[in-house]
Structures are given as structure tokens and as C-alpha cells.
């Protein structure tokens, strides 16, 4: 066990946690991925809204692109100009933020206008006011993803990954997108969009599209969604990605090659048991569904 490697792995875990949390909040503000099906459906159900409709493909491809752009530009600055890694990665993430913002505008316009027969207006003010938070959260997420990728390639014992930085950035970006669309988005899709329905139940198909378009003050917009999801879904997404990055390298650093693989399998078994405990807790606490 090398204490320096362990420190770097811990730093990777921390960066990944920040990446996960900001990625989820960004995609909630932008309404990307699966819960966006409800924003898409709402005008047909008679609910004109002021949400962003960011159908920039699924989150995995989108974050693969943003992180890939950030990682490639950072790699360029690191290798050609020997720039300080922090500045190089920040420069990469800035370029990615620009691309991200423009794709946000085009996907929002594309989808809203693509179903103009339902009367949904294009609210330019709603779009422009959300661009800052989207670009900002995206910047932090991309910076952290590329930081994780950069730390893995550091030539120290136990790390020194053979893949080049842009490739790792794309791969971690896709993975984070998959995690973000699987975990944090549930909080947005099940709770934030359907706040007017009682807590404690799935959303029946009959209620799809009947999304909540009012906030505590005035008309609900995408920033309100971000405020809501930052309280639970976002941080948990961060914990998920942070744990993944940390555990996948921590095991081999602590237990060595063979021991690490055994430890990994044991951790998976523990996760299965943990999940079962949570399921049993829910059944006992909430009981069968009551009308």
C-alpha cells in the first residue's frame, strides 16, 4: 500500500462526487434524459410550461461529448504547452461549456418547435436564464471528470492507466451520464414533476404529462427544478459516482492484485445485501399500497 497512491485515489473519489452531484443538477435544470418525456408530453395534455426541453440525446452520449471535448483540449494544453494541469483542465472545460450551451439552445428550440401544433410558445427568457446555471454546473462536472481521468493516468505506483486522457474522459463521461440518468433523475421525474400528487407511490400512466407547472411563487421554471433536486437526487448521484471511482481503484491499492479482485466481489455481495435491507425497510415502514 502506497500512501501517496491512496491519497490520489481519495482525491479521485472526491472529484468524482462533485462531478456526479453537479452533473445531476445540471441535467435536472436542463431536463435532459428520461423525465424529459413528461416535459415533452405536457403541451399535448394542455399544460403549457416554461421548462427547458433539452433533448441532447441521452445523458451518456452528451456527457461523453462534453467530457471528451474538455479532456481533449486539456490533453492538448498539457502535452504541447506543458501547462499547469489545473489551468489546462479548466481551459478544456471552458470550451466544453461553450459547446454544451449551444447544444442546449438547439435541442430546446428543436423539440419545442417540433410540436408547435400544441401551442407551446418558445420562451426565450426562460431559456436564456437557465443557460448560465446549465453551463456552470456542466463546467464543474466536466472539470471534475477530466480531473479524475488525469489522476488515473499519473505515473505513480498502482495507477498509471495505459489509456490516453481524452479516451478516459470520454469513458468516464459516458459512465457518469449513465449513472446520472439512472439515479438522480428519478427524484426529478417522480417527485419534482409531480409534486401535486401525494408522496409515496409511483406515477400511474394516466397521470403522465400532467406535470406541475406552478412553483411556490409564480410559474415553475427549470431553476426551481434545480433547487429541488439539489437537496436529494443530486448529492446521491454524486455519492454513487464517487463510490464507484473510489472503490474500483481503492481495492487494488489496499489489497493488491488478487486480494483486490476478491475484495471487489465481496463488496458487490455486500451491496446486494444492503439493497435487500432497504427493500425490507420500505416494505415494513410503508406497508402495502393504500388508496
Amino acid at each position: 500500500m502506497d500512501p501517496i497512491t491512496l491519497g490520489v485515489v481519495a482525491l479521485m473519489g472526491a472529484a468524482a462526487t462533485i462531478a456526479g452531484a453537479t452533473e445531476d443538477i445540471e441535467t435536472d435544470i436542463g431536463s435532459e434524459s428520461n423525465p424529459n418525456s413528461q416535459v415533452q408530453l405536457a403541451p399535448q395534455m394542455g399544460h403549457l410550461h416554461r421548462f427547458i426541453n433539452k433533448a441532447t440525446s441521452g445523458e451518456p452520449v452528451a456527457y461523453g461529448v462534453w467530457a471528451g471535448v474538455a479532456g481533449s483540449v486539456a490533453y492538448l494544453f498539457l502535452h504541447l504547452f506543458n501547462l499547469n494541469p489545473v489551468i489546462a483542465i479548466a481551459a478544456g472545460a471552458s470550451v466544453a461549456a461553450l459547446v454544451h450551451t449551444i447544444y442546449t439552445v438547439t435541442s430546446h428550440l428543436g423539440r419545442i418547435v417540433g410540436q408547435s401544433q400544441f401551442g407551446q410558445p418558445v420562451y426565450w427568457d426562460a431559456l436564456t436564464q437557465a443557460l448560465g446555471p446549465i453551463a456552470g454546473h456542466g463546467f464543474i462536472a466536466n472539470f471534475s471528470i477530466v480531473a479524475v481521468a488525469y489522476l488515473i493516468t499519473l505515473p505513480i505506483e498502482g495507477l498509471a492507466h495505459p489509456f490516453p486522457l481524452p479516451l478516459l474522459a470520454v469513458m468516464w463521461g459516458i459512465t457518469l451520464g449513465a449513472i446520472g440518468s439512472s439515479t438522480g433523475d428519478v427524484h426529478y421525474g417522480t417527485e419534482s414533476e409531480f409534486q401535486q400528487y401525494p408522496f409515496g407511490g409511483g406515477i400511474p400512466v394516466a397521470n403522465h404529462g400532467d406535470i406541475n407547472i406552478k412553483s411556490s411563487v409564480g410559474i415553475k421554471n427549470s431553476i426551481d427544478v434545480g433547487n429541488f433536486c439539489a437537496k436529494f437526487g443530486g448529492p446521491l448521484t454524486g455519492i454513487c459516482f464517487g463510490l464507484l471511482v473510489f472503490i474500483s481503484f481503492w481495492i487494488t491499492v489496499i489489497f493488491g492484485l488478487y486480494g483486490g479482485l476478491v475484495a471487489g466481489i465481496i463488496i458487490v455481495l455486500i451491496l446486494i445485501i444492503l439493497n435487500n435491507r432497504i427493500e425490507v425497510f420500505a416494505r415494513k415502514t410503508y406497508g402495502p399500497y393504500k388508496e
Binding site: S37, T56, S57, G68, V73, H79, Y103, P121, A126, P166
Partner: protein
Amino acid sequence: MSAAGGGPSEADISPEVLLALGVIGGLLGIYLSDINVLGGVIAPVLGSLGAVCAIIWGADAIRRVASYGLGTGVPSIGYMSLALGIIGALVGVALAATLNLTIIGPVLGLVAGLILGAVVGIVAKVIVKMKIAVLIRCTAEISGAAALAVLGFSSAIAGGYGLDLILAKVIAPGFIALFFIFVTMAIQHPFNACLGPNENQVRTIKLAVSTAFSVMTITGILAIFNPSLVYAGVPAWLVILVIGAIGWVVSLKSFICASNEAAAEVSWNAEIPKVEE
């Protein structure tokens, strides 16, 4: 993601025109991207412009196949075809190197991409029993377009399409992964973003031009990696970057104008109109 469903979509520009644009424009651009032909500055620009043509072709092919509703969303066929296209492009340049005929690389890459796309299309149709008539043709077309687009941008960075150049300048630094995912985005984003009952081919193609130029702009930045491409003191990356950015801004502007015109209403006010129940 809600898939479009419905059936064949109306087209103002025929698929054959866009296919010709992609194949001829793409191949021409890549062939002229060899720095020995046209000097160090113009050549990489033409290579990336060829890739832009290929992306527009691919985006139209996605539009034709995804308007049937694949059950898995629009992006899935995009990254599958890009994966096929990348293998096809690499097979092309590698086979050309084996045969010591670098010149046939791009054509072989296109052919290999088309074959791989057709094979997977046939597998999807015959074994998986997908019921989409245009699946084989469109998967092949998207894979071919992907092969050309990846080759075009790669040759813009590498300064040619020889195997060694591509391996050393594009694959070893990992830029190939960015091209994989970014060209996926550029090809599938136009239709995925615009889909809906009021989707319109011209507006979708405008967005395709914009996404294609966005990849070109980023390629311009990455071409700094190859500082040998200089002509009369002007580095090639700057020319790619500037032309890419101009193309991006112009096409984006035209897409936004088209969207504002086709929108139900354009508003800058925080107010929701009353809906008749």
C-alpha cells in the same frame, strides 16, 4: 426518450441528393486532405469539410430510419453506427497499408463501413426480426457516413490518411474516442432534437450543418497537436478553426431564425397563455 413512430417522413431534399453530397463531398475532401496535394493549409480544411458533408448525409439517414420508432430512442442507432464506422475506417486505412496502396484507403474505409452496417442491419432484421423496411439500407448509410466523417476529421489533424499518421496523431492521443462520441452526437442530434409532429426536413438539415461545423471547430483546436501543418506562416489549425466557427455561427443563426418562424409563438415574457380545455 420518446421515439417518433409514425412512418416515412416527408422530405424536401431527396435522400439520393444528400447521399451523393456525403459520398462525393466526403471522399473528395479526404483525398484532397493529403498535404502533398494542396499544401499544408488548404488540405486539412478540405478534409474536415468533407467530413461535414458526410455528417449531413448521416443525419438525413438517421431521420429516415428513426422516424419509424426503433424502441430504443434515436441515439442508440447513432452510436452503434459510429462504432461500425470507426472499425470500417480503420479497416480501410489498415488494408491500404497492407497492400501498400495508401490511395485506396478512404474508399476502402467507406466500403468497409457500408458492409459492416449492412451486416448488422441484416442481423437486426433477420435474426432479431426488427420490422423496419429501411433498417438495412439506413444502418449501412449511417455507418458509411460515420467512416467518412471520422476519416475526414482524423486526416485534418494528422495531415493525411496514411495508417501511420492516423495511428500516431489520432489514435495514440485518444482523439479517436472524441470523434467517436462527438460525431455520434453530430449525426443523431439534428433529428433527435427536432423530432415531433411538426418536424421539418429543411430545419433538421440546418441543424445538421450546425452540428457538423461544431465538430469541425473543435477539430480546429485539436489540430494544434500537429504543428507541422503550416503554410506561409499561417498554421492549418487556425484556418480550420476560423472556417469551422464561421460555418457554425451562420448555420446556427439560420436554424434559430427557422425555429422562431415555425414556432407557435415567440415570447420574452414570464407568462403562460390560457389554454382552452
